[in-house]
């Protein structure tokens, strides 16, 4: 039976980990992720979730415990945010380097200083090259569904990499929406029992993992991980299709394009700005304006081919970033320019929504107006625009 329930993104993430039968959870609470940890401990306390919950003294230990548990062949889950993710930083490439399919929910929140608890993607951007697969969600249904999909993707033997499911602080984590909660039988069918593909820590069948590796082996090792990230693109699409077939919900795979086929301009967004932009696209279409939207779902691996194909057909592209790489522009903008290298079209970067500043319907409309203007003139008014920033020219 499919039950639709009003719940928060935090609940959806916790519920997804329960239905995926995560067997070890090690996490440390931090606003706005705290409810994920609380829900999981409730599930365990109520006997709904058969799981070892490891109380740790920090996020560094949380990720270390997840790595160890995963290395012993157990499905693991954790969740964090902002400073907590930063504290995990040292262990993140260890999870990917050891090829462990740890799954983590990251509630994206601004990184200090100044202290700010609201949404921003600047916390996960430093983890871009950590070897973690990263997906950005724009609704709570997707959060639950992507936790399940994450295990299928991460545990696939062609991949064997950890994966982060990202959700915007408060806008998803603390917002309730109707979510079709997946029942255990359906979940079991989709995420079968975890069978490790590599050697595991087992006293009866001894293996060494994460070992000291001299230069003679390092290039090959790095190449393997790089290939796994490249191969993940096909696996992500496969898993998305399998999920859509079983549950009737197609989240789009690497990207989720909306009305791009005949579009003159497209805006590329990550996280919940995508959802707001969806409504603005409908409004502008009703006014006869040929605008489209590309919801950039996977940040790693990056959908280079998919985006380039779209860029080849349009007259201007905008990239909305809820993060900034100081002195350079938005990280997503920089990445897209590389994907669109050599194509002769104006590309505009819009930086906005930092530290929880509201991204309003008018803000998104403003971005599309700028893009339509650029499509007409063939030239971007300016490369990087800071949306609604007092004292900065728009």
């Amino acid at each position: 039976m499919v039950v639709s329930k009003i719940c928060t993104g935090n609940y959806a993430a916790a519920y997804g980990s329960m239905r995926s039968r995560a067997r070890t959870v090690a996490a440390y609470p931090i606003t706005p992720q705290t409810f994920i940890v609380e829900h999981i401990s409730e599930f365990i306390n109520n006997g709904e979730m058969d799981c070892e919950y490891i109380e740790v003294e920090s996020e560094h230990s949380a990720m270390s415990a997840c790595v160890s548990a995963s290395a012993s062949g157990v499905r693991t889950f954790t969740a964090t945010s902002s400073q907590g993710l930063a504290l995990m930083h040292e262990i993140l490439p260890i999870a990917s380097g050891m090829r462990l399919p740890v799954v983590m929910a990251v509630v994206n929140r601004a990184i200090a200083a100044p202290i700010n608890i609201w949404v921003e993607h600047n916390d996960i951007m430093p983890e871009r090259d950590s070897g973690w697969i990263q997906v950005f969600c724009d609704n709570n249904q997707e959060v639950q569904d992507m936790v399940l999909q994450a295990y299928r993707i991460a545990e696939d033997k062609r991949v064997s990499l950890p994966m982060a499911v990202c959700l915007d602080a408060f806008i998803l984590s603390h917002t309730v929406e109707p979510v079709h909660l997946i029942d255990q039988d359906a979940a079991d069918k989709f995420v079968p029992q975890y069978k490790p593909t590599g050697p595991i820590l087992d006293p009866d069948d001894v293996a060494a993992v994460g070992v000291f590796t001299p230069p003679d082996y390092m290039m090959e090792c790095r190449w393997q991980t790089d290939k796994a990230m490249r191969d993940a693109v096909a696996v992500i699409k496969e898993v998305n299709d399998t999920f859509a077939k079983q549950f009737g919900r197609d989240h789009g795979g690497m990207i989720d394009p909306y009305l791009v086929d005949d579009a003159e301009v497209v805006l590329i967004t990550m996280g919940t700005a995508s959802s707001t932009a969806h409504e603005v696209v409908d409004d502008l279409r009703a006014e006869g304006k040929k605008v489209g939207l590309v919801k950039l779902r996977f940040w790693r691996p990056y959908p280079t081919d998919d985006l380039r194909k779209i860029a080849e057909k349009v007259k201007a592209v905008g990239v909305f970033d809820r993060a900034v790489s100081y002195g350079v522009g938005g990280p997503s903008f920089v990445e897209f320019k590389s994907a669109a290298f050599g194509l002769n079209l104006p590309v505009m970067n819009f930086i906005g929504g930092l530290g929880g500043r509201d991204v309003s319907l008018q803000d998104v409309r403003f971005m599309y107006e700028q893009l339509l203007e650029a499509a007409k003139t063939g030239k971007a008014k300016r490369d990087i625009t800071w949306i609604g920033t007092r004292g900065v020219e728009q």
Partner: protein, 294 residues
Amino acid sequence: MYEVRFHGRGGQGAVMAAQALASAAHAEGGYATAFPFFGAERRGAPVLAFTRIDEKRIYRKTQVYEPDFVVVLDEGLLESVNVVEGLKKGGVVLVNSTRKPEEIDVGIDTKLATVDATSVALEVLKQPATNSSILGALAKATGLVKIESIEMGIMQVFGDRLGPKIGEKNARAARVAFERTVVGESHGKRVLKTAEKWLPDVNNLPMGVAGVAMKTTAGAVGPGSFLENKTGSWKVFKPEYDEEKCTMCNFCWFYCPEGCIYRKDDRMEFDMDYCKGCGICANECPAEAINMVR
């Protein structure tokens, strides 16, 4: 689409009310979302929560700027917040108050409903948690959802968080409030103003948002600014001090999280400009010399 804005204070449960309303609308077959906007995460600080209700999926993930309905959980907020800001024409304002609708001035002519949600909550729940009562009143004042759906929504959201018994009690509070809600008209004479905010541009914001004491057009900011920004209006209860019973043990001084209690000669002094009425002093006082009263 209908948009509802809740004005409350931290700890009054505006967020749970917004969620229970979404749950009620969803139970009626609609699509609904609810979300909070937290300022400082402190009990008593003004908070906002929002609910959106529609027949089809709601995509916008923005704050609510033009609500159809405004719910005020704490009448005291009318003095510092322009609660009708952006209210759509034909909208409804609901205020937790002992007064009649025509006695309340929100600065505009509007349909307005009142309910003494605090008394209902004290009667039914034995504590001033007005979030469930106000939802019953909202059903009566707006007809947005049925009272039965509100009861169901409360049982789900409150029940999930606080247990089914508390869920049922809160549903009862909503029903009682539904019966006692007075719907009327209000004519605005005064001008309600939201306290001006200090919003410097990039050239005037101190580097790194360093908190230096400054006088701005919106008042003092930085260290020492709370000499002006008094927070004593946040409380529902205030401490009543019985000098005769007091043994001067100073427990109240030690436990007060706001540093509002001082020893002065042979008695304790309470700084009501900053007391938030949390009641910790009364709870800790071994001589029962402090009572919390409304």
